[in-house]
Amino acid sequence: MHPDPIQRWLNSNDINLNIQRILHRYHTAALGGPLPAAIPLTNVRHILNTSCGPGDWAIDIARTYPLIHVTGIDANEEEIQHARLNAQLCQVSERVTFQHMPVGRSLAFADNTFDLIHTKPIQQLHPARWPFILQELIRVLRPGGWLNVVAHEWGVTSSDALNHLTLLANHAASLSLYRLGLLAERPASGYEPGVGPFLYQFLIEGGLIDVSYTIHAVDLGAFSKQGARIYTEAILLFLAHFKSLVCELELVDEYTYDSLLRTARKDMLYQPGSCGFAYLFSAHGRKSV
């Protein structure tokens, strides 16, 4: 690695990180801000951000609110390093710390530590595993503190090829969970929603109070809308990552997958009438005092 952090930053060419950063920007715009308006930030001193990725959310918060400390955790060591670098470059590293820590297991924090927790689901986790994760998050949340979870769900688009790709990626993800023994039943070939629509139920079952949610549209009309263009490019790169998994599971062959990617790209970026959307579910609730 290059000794100069800025050079290291410029040299880094990790597509996955860039995708995450683009998704973060666009999702925050679709949500209307980093946190739901219903969550007050008075008396919030310390925030936990799980699945923080390259740290954009944590850094955004630290830059906007100069009295708040944020702890970001992620299972990916490399992303944590990028997040630290990112915080240094934004000159907030005194108030933002990042730790390498997987969710899905016990968190290395004491009970009632954080005033607020913001998280997003991880692709590799099936909705059925969420109640345990939430239980752990609620444990480290102080009484009266808010928990906010944001989840992305696929919608539909004007491109048959893109709809097919999202279906394949969705199916491949649930099939691989089944193979790992994390799903009892072999998933049917149709679309299987992620955790998004279950968040409301899970937060209530987790014992939180004042539970509520909002639903947001992420516009994928890449021809007519500038922001959507970059986002759709990122989505296509994200789907390109699924090729090996989809082909390994023999859902389609590589040639078919590649041609679907090409067609989806053409449909969404070069067709004047391209249209499409994804959903964002943002759910929040408060730990009772």
Binding site: S158, G190, G273
Partner: protein, 278 residues
């Protein structure tokens, strides 16, 4: 379009159409996209008007403008005419038409053509012909507006499976192959269809919609009525053999009880697209 037996239209369906219309106009905060010059529209045509909720609302809102609603289903038109009579509206008319025939109007007659569909049984492959006819009867500078509703993911396995059946039947209908699984919503194609019909200034707007039990009952009611009025889509679900009649019925019952859970959550999207005739 699969012809529905007019007698099969139930009051539940009529109520479902009313909820659908209120849902769409509430989300759009009006009957038309805010950027359209509504004041300039003198003659308005509402295609596939169903029982005429959109047309009646428009006629009430603008007593000086003339609205014609057309539909293939005489039973629904009777309800619409009765509503117009009771409301004392003189600026509205409902007429019967055949979907595959040309529109019974002269060229360049209307300022606005509204397609707030009261049916989901107009498939993408039917639109080019329908829009060609609509462009013919539209004045230069007139607008076409198309709006539809799309169901998204929910926390009810029954609802998800029911929607999956509808999508599969839909995919089979539009792809004309029995193995087709990929669903393409008609609504996301509206902008493209308007471009291809020769419109300019084509745009679309998205309005995300809560179908859950949280605050609003209208999205939730819309979902409920869609599942309840399933006999109307049975003419569509069964011929495509996506599932057996018993399976469909069991799924429908599961869905109807699951959406009554107090922690039920679900999403949908209103898609509104519009374009102008050059």
């Amino acid at each position: 379009m699969q012809q529905i037996d007019p007698e099969a239209i139930t009051m539940a369906q009529v109520a479902g159409l009313r909820i659908r219309h209120y849902l769409i106009s509430r989300e759009m905060k009006g009957l038309l996209p805010p950027t359209l010059p509504s004041e300039r529209f003198q003659r308005v045509l509402n295609v596939a008007c169903g029982n005429g909720f959109w047309a009646l609302d428009f006629a009430r809102l603008y007593p000086k403008k003339h609205v014609i609603g057309i539909d293939t289903r005489e039973r629904l038109l009777q309800i619409a005419r009765e509503d117009a009579r009771v409301s004392g509206l003189k600026n509205i008319r409902f007429e019967h038409f055949q979907l595959n025939a040309s529109l019974p109007y002269s060229d360049r007659r209307f300022d606005l053509i509204e397609n707030e569909q009261s049916t989901t049984l107009i498939f993408p492959y039917m639109w080019p012909d329908l829009l060609r006819e609509q462009m013919r009867v539209l004045k230069p500078g007139g607008w076409i507006h198309m709006v539809a509703f799309e169901f998204g993911p929910t926390s009810s396995p029954g609802v998800n499976r029911f929607m999956q059946m509808l999508r599969e039947a839909y995919a089979r209908e539009i792809h004309a192959e029995k193995s087709a699984k990929v669903y393409n919503s008609a609504a996301t194609l509206y902008a493209d269809l308007l471009y291809k019909a020769g419109c300019q200034h084509v745009e679309y707007q998205l309005y995300p919609m809560d179908l859950g039990n949280q605050y609003s009952t209208i999205g939730h009611d819309h979902l409920k009525y869609t599942i309840l009025t399933y006999p109307a889509v049975s003419v569509f679900l069964l011929p495509h053999k996506v599932a057996s009649a018993e399976d469909i019925e069991a799924t429908r019952c599961a869905a109807l009880s699951e959406i009554e859970r107090m922690d039920f959550c679900g999403a949908g999207m209103v898609i509104s697209a519009f374009g102008q005739k050059p």
